[in-house]
């Protein structure tokens, strides 16, 4: 796999000896697939990628972290990387189909009483 990639020698051998933005090739904006990512968007890895050779160590770490659903903010905190960098990395994975997110149109906005009641019951129960 990786020996066919033009830069296989670089990724595997050198590792991520880079500054935050260099980690994502200087990109400061996520791909369109990551446009809707907010602090609390839930992300989850859905399968083991068949082609991991082109992924960065950070991508693989995210996939590992997101075996259980996590928010974008949690991924950034556990990865110890700035939010914007994590959004870029996540957008790569979403586009590849390695990670799925909660569709924002079905998210809990605007608030409804039924949802708030669930939150209220949940907080009382802790």
């Amino acid at each position: 796999m990786s020996q066919h990639s033009p830069d296989w020698w670089y990724d595997e051998a050198a590792g991520p000896l880079v500054r935050p933005y260099a980690m994502v090739s200087g990109r400061t904006r996520p791909k369109p697939a990551g446009d809707e990512l907010t602090l609390t968007t839930q992300v989850r890895a859905i399968r083991t990628s068949s082609d991991q050779g082109s992924l960065l160590v950070e991508h693989l770490e995210i996939i590992k972290l997101c075996r259980k659903p996590l928010s974008v903010a949690e991924v950034a905190a556990y990865l110890n990387a700035p939010l914007v960098v994590v959004k870029v990395l996540l957008s790569d994975l979403i586009q590849r189909g390695d990670v799925i997110t909660r569709d924002p149109s079905r998210m809990a906005v605007p608030m409804d009483l039924n949802l708030l009641q669930k939150v209220l019951d949940g907080v009382r129960a802790i």
């Binding site: 933005y21 839930q42 928010s71 905190a77 189909g97 708030l116 939150v119 949940g122």
Partner: protein, 197 residues
């Protein structure tokens, strides 16, 4: 999103939805303490990099210089059920990060404005922010051991908070106390919805 649509509904159901409550207030008032008192995880910190040049610039080569600022956000998590997670976000304490509040407040259930009796004026900005945006909020007065004790009425008067806004005394270190503050926020948001319906 794209991948969700192509993968179908079944897998999407495995991804919970999330809600959030904002904990606002001046620097050092006990926001992270409050988040930590009720969170199921030790509060996490995430950082946003900001550049003075703004986000229009794509090439950030060399941004490690003086033009970058980091805004730290502390947050906690309460899993309501497998399909729903509540996040508690502390606002950045410094005034120059006001713009971050909009992103934090957007789509939130409501907010706690945490106030310290020794520095009442630090709470005015937050109260004003949520009032102007019509976001339901509760004023919680963090009663430190060494702080003066006032009654809720005295605090309401001093902070000039409308009668419609709940005001409670609390101890940000105490789990039950913080739980009841959150309960008040959610109840207040529910009442507001009821009134609007």
């Amino acid at each position: 999103m794209v991948s969700v649509q192509s993968e179908g509904r079944r897998e999407e159901l495995l991804v919970p939805s999330s809600v959030k409550i904002v904990v606002a207030g001046g620097f050092g008032v006990g926001k992270t303490t409050m988040v930590g008192a009720v969170s199921e995880i030790t509060p996490l910190r995430t950082e946003e990099l900001l550049t003075e040049a703004g986000e229009e610039i794509d090439d950030l080569a060399g941004v490690e210089g003086k033009n970058t600022t980091t805004v730290a956000l502390d947050f906690g998590r309460i899993t309501i059920n497998p399909e729903l997670v509540l996040y508690l976000f502390g606002t950045p304490g410094q005034d120059r990060f006001w713009f971050m509040w909009d992103e934090l407040a957007y789509g939130s259930i409501g907010a706690v404005v945490l106030v310290d009796t020794r520095r009442l004026d630090a709470g005015f900005g937050a109260i004003d922010f949520f009032e102007r945006r019509g976001i339901p909020f509760v004023v919680a007065v963090n009663c430190f051991d060494d702080g003066h004790t006032y009654t809720a009425d005295e605090m309401r008067q001093a902070l000039d908070v409308a009668d419609a806004v709940p005001l409670v005394l609390c101890d940000a270190r105490d789990r039950e106390s913080c739980k009841s503050v959150l309960v008040r926020v959610i109840e207040h948001a529910m009442n507001r919805l009821d009134v609007m319906a």
